[in-house]
């Protein structure tokens, strides 16, 4: 027998992807395409797609920049699962981890005009659940969840 990849089947009701990419910002768009494809299949609304897209971009940017220090030899794993009910995303980097509680509040007056520090806030705003945990090898594991088909009021929090 030639094969033993034992892949997840192509389901009608759940879209999944598993990719590992090197720490290059161009790869954010590659992963973004796969998420977009999955969201298409479940007819997520344009608003939903926009916020989930933003959250994934920020999560990948952090993994590449802060986690892997822009070292292209270090990799980022992304697993996604999309159903009509919601979107689950897991992002893992090969960095040294960090303590989210120590991150400064970008809304504090002294940080309002800072050139950076807003990524996590955007992620938390875009998704329903965000969890940060040390990964098995010391990097950061980020779990994101967003319900799909929730009320419009909930979707357009930002506006």
């Amino acid at each position: 027998m030639l094969f033993s990849l034992n892949p997840k089947p192509m389901e009608a009701t759940a879209q999944q992807f598993h990719v590992v990419v090197s720490s290059r910002y161009e790869n954010i768009d590659v992963v973004q395409t796969l998420l977009g494809e999955a969201l298409d299949c479940v007819s997520a609304s344009e608003q939903e797609c926009h916020w989930i897209d933003l959250a994934l971009r920020e999560a990948l940017a952090n993994a590449i920049k802060h986690g892997n220090g822009e070292n292209p030899e270090k990799r980022v794993r992304v697993d996604g699962r999309v159903t009509a009910e919601g979107v689950w995303i897991e992002v893992e980097d090969e960095g040294d981890g960090f303590t989210p509680e120590k991150v400064e509040d970008p809304l504090a007056p002294e940080n309002l005009l800072s050139p950076s520090g807003r990524g996590l806030l955007y992620i938390r705003n875009a998704m329903d659940q965000v969890e940060l945990r040390p990964g098995p090898k010391g990097g950061t594991l980020m779990f994101l969840f967003k319900e799909l088909g929730a009320s419009n009021a909930e979707e357009s929090e930002g506006s």
């Binding site: 971009r57 920020e58 506006s159």
Partner: protein, 111 residues
């Protein structure tokens, strides 16, 4: 990302098209702003109508552009913000920092 630049009544109008996101778009925006300032411009108007995606790095560049301009005695104002850009600036409480316009002529006259 491409940035079109033109001058109307001593106002430098910068019109980025595409993504202002980490890696490429953010740097292009920074370069364009610095270029305009180096060229002696003191009135900068950033037309965001063509921005398809912006992330926190792009927002960071907007803020940096604003503070750089202010520190140099120049003014940066924003024109034609797509609803999504408004949302994104609102989440980080930046929308009130910027002077924003819907109409180009009005924006130009405001300087």
């Amino acid at each position: 990302m491409k940035i079109n630049i033109r001058n109307v009544n001593q106002v430098t109008i910068l019109e980025p098209k595409g993504k202002i996101t980490i890696g490429v778009g953010d740097v292009a925006l920074r370069d364009a702003i610095h270029g305009a300032l180096e060229a002696g411009s003191t009135k900068l108007l950033l037309n965001l109508a063509g921005v398809s995606v912006i992330d926190s790095s792009g927002v960071g560049e907007l803020v940096s552009a604003y503070t750089t301009c202010t520190n140099r005695g120049a003014k940066l104002k924003l024109l034609s913000l797509p609803p999504k850009v408004v949302d994104i600036l609102q989440i980080t409480q930046l929308i009130t920092v910027f002077e924003t316009f819907e109409d180009e002529n009005e924006a130009i006259e405001s300087f």
